[in-house]
């Protein structure tokens, strides 16, 4: 292998490029990315950057020296517009055609928007540094009636950060219980209560009918007829994997780029991060993971896969994710679902400091922690080892 093209110059793509070098790959690495900023880290965009605590230079993924060490050929500010899997040729928006021996697909995901609100000033989604800085200057400029649409993790963090800045926050969520599909009703409710504890006006079980205003947003109209006055609206209703440029490429696309167990999408083509779907043998299910740590681990695995030829282990991580809200550090490892058995193994939801494990079909499949990082890692190890539900309960008793 003499040349590799990495498409997507963010966490997964850059960690893949770095791993290629670390594994001794000496050929050309061309990195294509449609953002103009040097690669940066996204989690602080809803936390420290939005809070005004960190300036953008603090979230660079690499300093200049480290970037130079990687010896990359850049195509930044350039969108990949097309791909041909057979020849591994990427076509750029400006017409340039890059053929290579290996390709890493790491184009991540983009935010969903609410139809009809895209052109209204004061309505935002949050994915990029520019988004975060724009919302931050709104937070600084307006006296502050903030409406957050969607109580998922991103919405929840924006609400927490806005409250931290002393702004009035209303959060609107279509489900009766936020995150119920992920965490189940009991613990989804705890996540909701944390916002109420901190003075968020939480509207559950109601959707957005319309976002109204002239040039700027003025009101959010809910499906129950309520009208909320709003100076700024942040929409956090999920993401869509960036696979448009792969249409007609010969790759299989199904809510992500479909890979085999080793992150291989086609000969010489791997995918990693938010855009990649693969069968995770540990859980016996196909997954696409939108977590920071997975983008790194899968970026590394995909790089090794490209270099290794055929002899490579399947990629079988226990997905892990954190979210900082107010003074709570929420962590989730594994794959929980609404119908799982749930057992609190330490602390209590009432004190907002606990760990809970999830069981399904006789196995421990997930652990959720509120300010309990060490417990999350202990149970994550059990999940990785394929422990049974009874073994997990036994372990919990031995720790009590």
């Amino acid at each position: 292998m003499k040349s590799v093209t990495v498409v997507g110059a963010s966490l997964a793509g850059m960690r893949a490029a770095e791993s290629l070098r670390r594994e001794g790959f000496d050929g050309t690495i061309t990195v294509v990315g449609d953002e103009t900023d040097a690669p940066y880290d996204r989690p602080p965009l809803s936390k420290q950057v939005l809070a005004g605590e960190w300036e953008p230079q603090r979230i660079a993924l690499y300093d200049d020296a480290a970037l130079a060490d990687l010896r990359l050929t850049w195509r930044l500010g350039t969108r990949a517009a097309g791909f041909e899997a057979d020849s591994r040729a990427v076509t750029l928006a400006d017409g340039e055609r890059l053929a290579a021996d290996g390709v890493v697909i790491a184009t991540g995901a983009r935010t969903r928007t609410l139809r009809g609100s895209e052109d209204l000033a004061g309505v935002y989604t949050l994915r990029t540094l520019a988004d975060s800085l724009a919302i931050r200057s709104e937070f600084e400029a307006t006296p502050g009636r903030v409406v957050v649409v969607g109580a998922g993790f991103i919405g929840a963090e924006v609400a927490a950060t806005a409250r931290g800045r002393g702004l009035d926050v209303t959060m609107v969520e279509m489900a009766e219980t936020p995150l119920e599909r992920v965490l189940g009703a009991l613990l989804g409710r705890v996540c909701a209560e944390v916002h109420v504890d901190h003075g968020v006006d939480l509207r559950l079980g109601v959707g957005v009918a319309a976002i109204g205003g002239g040039h700027r947003v003025e009101q959010v109209v809910l499906t129950d007829g309520t009208r909320l006055d709003a100076d700024v609206v942040i929409v956090g209703v999920g993401v869509i994997p960036n696979t448009d440029w792969l249409e007609g490429s010969g790759l299989q696309i199904d809510n992500g780029v479909v890979c085999d167990e080793t992150c291989l999408a086609a000969p010489g083509v791997v995918a990693a991060g938010d855009v990649a779907r693969w069968p995770n043998r540990l859980f016996g299910q196909s997954m696409r993971v939108e977590h920071w740590d997975n983008a790194i681990e899968q970026g590394m695995a995909a790089a090794r896969r490209l270099l290794a030829g055929d002899a490579v282990e399947p990629f079988t991580p226990v997905p892990w994710f954190w979210s900082d809200q107010y003074d709570r550090k929420i962590q989730l490892a594994g794959r929980s679902g609404p119908d799982d058995e749930v057992q609190i193994v330490t602390g209590s939801p009432a004190e907002r400091r606990f760990a809970a494990i999830y069981g399904r079909a006789g196995r421990i499949v997930a652990v959720l922690g509120f300010n309990r990082p060490r417990h999350v890692m202990q149970y994550r190890r059990l999940i990785a080892a394929g422990a049974s539900w009874d073994e997990a309960l036994e372990f919990a008793r031995s720790q009590a």
């Binding site: 670390r22 740590d293 590394m300 954190w322 550090k329 990082p373 060490r374 999350v376 890692m377 190890r381």
Partner: protein, 66 residues
């Protein structure tokens, strides 16, 4: 080149990702604090230590010379 591990404990949140990657070097104990077991682990552990630096979500780990 020898190196030394430096952790910024104001940033560290004890999530034990580093311990999972390099248990020879990092340990989060029952008190929920991170302990560095070996500040100068040497070249044979360098790969694992580099991965721990990369995967620390708080960018709390850095390497100093010597």
């Amino acid at each position: 080149m020898s190196y030394r591990i430096v952790v910024d404990f104001d940033l560290c949140e004890s999530n034990a990702i580093c311990m999972q990657v390099a248990p020879e070097v990092f340990e989060v104990r029952d008190d929920d604090f991170l302990y560095i077991l070996d500040e100068t682990p040497g070249d044979d552990l360098r790969g694992k230590v580099d991965e721990a630096v990369q995967r620390c979500p708080k960018q709390a780990i850095s390497l100093a010379e010597g």
